[in-house]
């Protein structure tokens, strides 16, 4: 394995483009090093990017945010402005692993690992986040939902690397929330995850995005949940319709963490609960 420490993103892309064997980018390393140790993936070329300009920065991009690819979960949780505007995205990332993992793990890594159960991904999809990708053809920006294509696989092409996650401007009276179900209180992988992002006019929901994790091969953006919520003041009828839409969207597997039946049911329950949290947060915003 060759360890590279390029001096620019351009050089990092060039190394990846020229790599003939297995190539991995290294940011937090909390998945890459586990795969290395387990002999699941032994890269021929490992390209460390976290020292490159902008990779460790959380910065304003217009009225939105740019979160560099090597920003850790701990750094996100410590950013009060980011947490106030995007509490759902920050709480989702904060659920990943222990204090130690939070000191290294990144949003971009959680996305590129392409686990269907990744906690931060439904929250990013509900937030309508995009990623900036650097590659041999230059830079492009794509929605987060287009990155994972199947468990463990992404749509990134040879030589491409995500350099940042972009969160849009936070509208007035809007907020997000993320909830997951795990059998324990800490340190586990989502059985179901749900991200909800709402915008209100007065007390009426005017815009909604809803996303589910761990109930299909990739993260789901569920328009039917949003449709059930929009126009409502989150009464019981809207909540029941949203829960039904969530359960109907599920296409889960049976495994040791949960059965198909359980995941399908819990997706509805979490959708209601996450919607209530996002709604109360949005009502608290001016």
């Amino acid at each position: 394995m060759r360890y590279h420490r390029p001096t620019s993103i351009g050089d990092a892309v060039a190394i990846a483009q020229d790599a003939s064997g297995t190539c991995r980018f290294l940011a937090g390393g909390t998945d890459v090093l586990v795969q290395l140790r387990a002999d699941l993936v032994t890269p021929d070329d490992l390209i460390d990017i976290k020292h490159l300009p902008g990779m460790r920065d959380i910065s304003r991009a217009g009225d939105g945010w740019r979160i560099g690819a090597a920003v850790t979960g701990a750094e996100m949780s410590e950013n009060a402005d980011l947490k106030r505007e995007w509490p759902g995205v920050v709480e989702a990332m904060d659920l990943v692993g222990s204090t130690q993992i939070q000191g290294r793990a990144t949003l971009t890594g959680n996305l590129c690992n392409a686990s269907p159960a990744a906690d931060s991904v439904p929250a990013m999809v509900a937030a309508d986040a995009t990623v900036t990708i650097a590659g041999p053809g230059g830079e492009r920006t794509v929605p987060v939902a287009e990155i994972p294509v199947s468990p463990g696989r992404t749509s990134l092409q040879k030589g491409e690397v995500i350099t940042a996650v972009n969160l849009p401007a936070r509208a007035a009276r809007s907020a997000d929330a993320y909830l997951r179900f795990i059998p324990r209180t800490e340190m586990d992988i989502a059985v179901v995850g749900c991200g909800i992002n709402l915008t209100l006019d007065g007390d009426t929901i005017t815009h909604a995005r809803a996303s589910l994790g761990a109930v299909a091969p990739t993260v789901l953006l569920v328009d039917a949940i949003a449709d059930a919520l929009i126009g409502s003041t989150l009464g019981d009828a809207a909540l029941d319709a949203a829960a039904a839409a969530a359960s109907a969207a599920c296409n889960p597997i049976d495994d040791k963490r949960g059965t198909i039946e359980f995941r399908t049911r819990v997706a509805g329950v979490l959708t209601k609960r996450a919607a209530k949290i996002a709604y109360e947060r949005a009502r608290g915003q001016s």
Binding site: G29, L33, V34, A38, D48, G97, S98, I101, R104
Partner: protein, 159 residues
């Protein structure tokens, strides 16, 4: 296999070492720098026995390459005591019998010091969540939590 030369700081001392690109920071600490306080439990970031500080951030040294230590400041359990004088946390762990086999103890000491440096007055719940990534198969955790709460109270009185 080409070896990598790394310059770093460990417990305040400037250190140079040469390592294979696949070696973790934990491998380097134990096998090249003879700092065997950090332990390998799982090797996959689940147990926390290898916890160290890197640039004042608590991390699992098994989930970081030795090569990534270039230019960093690393603190291990060996830096806790001042000569023969144990750190108050170490004193309290002995007093409360907060360890049995001792494998998890260095990681828990490093993790707990990181918490108390950041938050000198944590609740028991905060301590338990902070230490959720440090597994102990002997004590049942309760004595560890008592030792941490007692140390925190003592340090607050002293400051």
């Amino acid at each position: 296999m080409s070896m990598i030369h790394v310059s770093t700081t460990v417990n305040g001392d400037e250190v140079d070492f040469v390592c294979d690109p696949r070696e973790t920071l934990l491998d380097v600490l134990r096998d090249r720098l003879a700092l065997t306080g950090a332990k390998e439990g799982c090797g996959t970031g689940d147990c926390g026995a290898c916890s160290v500080m890197v640039d004042d951030r608590l991390v699992c040294s098994c989930l970081m390459l030795g090569a990534e230590a270039e230019g960093k400041s690393i603190a291990t359990v060996e830096g806790l005591a001042k000569g023969e004088d144990l750190h108050p946390l170490q004193e309290k762990f002995i007093e409360h019998a907060a360890l049995q086999c001792g494998i998890c103890t260095p990681g828990i000491l490093v993790a707990t010091k990181a918490l108390l440096d950041k938050n000198p007055d944590p609740t028991e719940t905060e301590v338990r969540y902070w230490l959720a990534g440090n597994l102990c198969r002997c004590t049942g955790y309760d004595k560890i939590i008592r030792a941490v709460m007692d140390t925190a109270a003592d340090l607050r009185k002293a400051s």
